[in-house]
């Protein structure tokens, strides 16, 4: 009956972000919030484990006060309780700050057998939080996991790396960072959505997490963000005769010094 914690991030849906053609700046005004896609797999994994073996899943998120919009969403996906830290510091927090805040929350919340996280967030995809959290909490960590089981106090995980798979065993408590291929998250049913409001959620104040003021100061700041726009020659040959098009393309290859 494992006690699990899933950390998730409430992000802007990058599909709604538009690039301003004039100056390549990003327009997020129409972007809605969403639970980071990769976190869904972590939430699903924890939920499935608990459905099979009993236990409980708590969810935890650190974000700006808009993170409250994520609560019913996350609770409709299986967790029993959601904790959140909604603080302005999240606006500019870098991965270092995020990990320290989450670590502070975990120390306050008590013992979990396994802390699960997604591979990275859909906005910045730093892929750092799992290992950082483990380092701060002095816990063993298994990263890039595509399969896992929890048997008593033992976590058995299979990692998928570029050129091999690796079986790793750790004792709980431990941190596990899962790959998006670990499972296919189910779409919450209507009853799960309606049942979310009956589940508890609790705010954690950042001042109560035992952090120093300088812990919340980001050491990495954004100098600029520009939309990526492909700017290519776009020379397209559309003659009705394929041989003509081929001749022109071959000439282009020669012109670019590629023949």
């Amino acid at each position: 009956m494992p006690n699990l914690l899933v950390c998730y991030k409430w992000t802007l849906d990058e599909r709604d972000i538009k690039i301003n053609p004039n100056d390549l700046s990003l327009d997020s005004s129409r972007a809605k919030g969403k639970i980071s896609d990769f976190d869904r797999m972590a939430i699903e994994e924890a939920t499935q484990i608990v459905e099979k073996q009993g236990g409980a899943v708590d969810a935890l998120s650190y974000g700006t006060p808009t993170v409250k919009q994520s609560l019913k969403d996350v609770l409709s996906r299986g967790p029993n309780k959601a904790y959140y830290i909604g603080d302005a510091s999240a606006e500019h927090a870098d991965a270092n700050v995020i990990a320290k805040v989450l670590a502070g929350a975990v120390r306050k919340l008590g013992k979990y057998d396994v802390i699960l996280l997604g591979e990275g967030s859909s906005d910045s995809f730093n892929q750092q939080t799992g290992a950082r959290l483990a380092a701060l909490l002095d816990l063993p960590v298994v990263t890039f996991v595509q399969e896992m089981t929890i048997e008593g106090d033992t976590v058995k995980a299979t990692r998928k790396l570029a050129d091999c798979t690796e079986a790793v065993t750790v004792k709980t408590p431990a941190v596990v960072q899962v790959l998006s291929t670990i499972n296919k998250p189910r779409i919450p049913s209507m009853k799960q959505v309606l049942g979310a409001s009956k589940k508890p959620n609790q705010e954690l104040k950042i001042a109560d997490l035992g952090l120093k003021a300088e812990d919340l100061v980001p050491k990495s700041t954004r100098k600029s963000v520009k939309g990526f726009v492909m700017s290519r020659k776009n020379v397209i040959y559309k003659e009705s005769n394929a041989a003509d098009n081929v001749a022109k393309l071959v000439a282009s290859l020669a012109k670019e010094g590629l023949r």
């Binding site: 730093n126 954004r222 990526f228 290519r232």
Partner: protein, 307 residues
């Protein structure tokens, strides 16, 4: 604080990292220290510009050595730690960053020192945008493979030393199973013919093979061809969850050019396309293209190139 540190469990990447590290060393006026797990690699690093090379005496996997490496760079008061951007590297780098209470940039494409800080550029929002960031020192960064070329041989060789390192025994690694590889590494090909769902049968990929041969390149594909049709192995597919390539020529055939695919090849020097749908997004991303039936165009093109 002293030292620009470099580490990758993959020595090919380790050597590539020396190039940006040498620039940082110049800007900061601090020694370049390379960490290696094998003597042979250490010798190479020493000839390519590392002032010091520290051999970590352990057969354990890099993740298991992460706490020990973190202690080492902390003791050395490293200013910058560059780690090869493999998955293993990202694990190690994140661990180190936490222990150093340092900022970390994942998949940095450029690295310079500006106003005493590490300035980096990297991709955001699944490829939608590029961010320039400034990180106070000490800073950690992972750099993707093949972002840089290894440096030329240095005038003087660096000093090699070795240290005992204590592996973290809490994670027990067993059963390392290599993923069967086909042998072709499309990430190193300078010319690629990339196939999409415009091909009707697996046998028709021969047209792409012939074109690739005429171009002296390899064949790659979009996600569907590998994951859904299984006409080509997974390591040949290019896209946001597949490989990223930067060949001289990327020749997309019968491939529509969706964003999730293009993010894996958009840094190619030249992009060519053949597609019978003139509205296919690939044409917006191409330097040169032909609107036409690939079954007609490819044989003609291959023949023309052979002449």
């Amino acid at each position: 604080m002293a030292g620009v540190f470099v580490f990758s469990e993959d020595s090919a990447i380790g050597k590539q990292l020396l190039t940006p590290a040498l620039e940082l060393k110049k800007s900061l006026g601090q020694p370049l220290v390379a960490l290696a797990t094998r003597e042979a690699d250490a010798k190479e690093y020493a000839t390519l510009g590392a002032d010091r090379v520290i051999v970590l005496k352990s057969e354990a996997s890099p993740e298991v050595l992460a706490p020990a490496i973190a202690n080492l760079v902390a003791k050395e008061q490293a200013s910058v730690v560059l780690i090869g951007g493999t998955l293993r590297g990202k694990h190690v780098a994140s661990y180190i960053a936490a222990k150093l209470d340092a900022p970390m940039t994942t998949d940095a494409k450029t690295l310079t020192i500006a106003d005493g800080k590490l300035e980096t550029t990297r991709v955001l929002y699944a490829g939608l945008a590029v961010a320039e960031e400034l990180s106070s020192l000490p800073a950690v960064a992972t750099v993707p493979a093949r972002t840089f070329l290894p440096p030329a041989a240095a005038a003087t060789a660096g000093k090699i030393e070795s240290v005992e390192v204590t592996p973290d025994t809490r994670a027990v690694v067993s059963n390392v199973t290599p993923i069967a590889s086909e042998g072709v590494d499309i990430t190193t090909a300078s010319r690629l013919v990339s196939v999409g769902r415009g091909f009707r049968k697996k046998e028709d990929l021969k047209l792409a093979d012939d074109l690739a041969a005429a171009l002296k390149g390899e064949v790659s594909c979009s996600r569907g061809v590998a994951e859904d049709d299984h006409w080509l192995p997974i390591e040949r597919y290019i896209g946001i969850s597949g490989q990223t390539v930067k060949p001289e020529i990327y020749f997309a055939v019968g491939l529509s050019g969706q964003v999730q695919h293009m993010v894996g090849c958009r840094e190619s020097k030249f992009i060519f396309a053949v597609n019978n749908d003139e509205h296919a997004p690939i044409f917006e991303a191409a330097d040169y293209g032909i609107v036409g039936d690939l079954y007609e165009v490819l044989p003609l093109l291959t023949a023309a190139l052979k002449n």
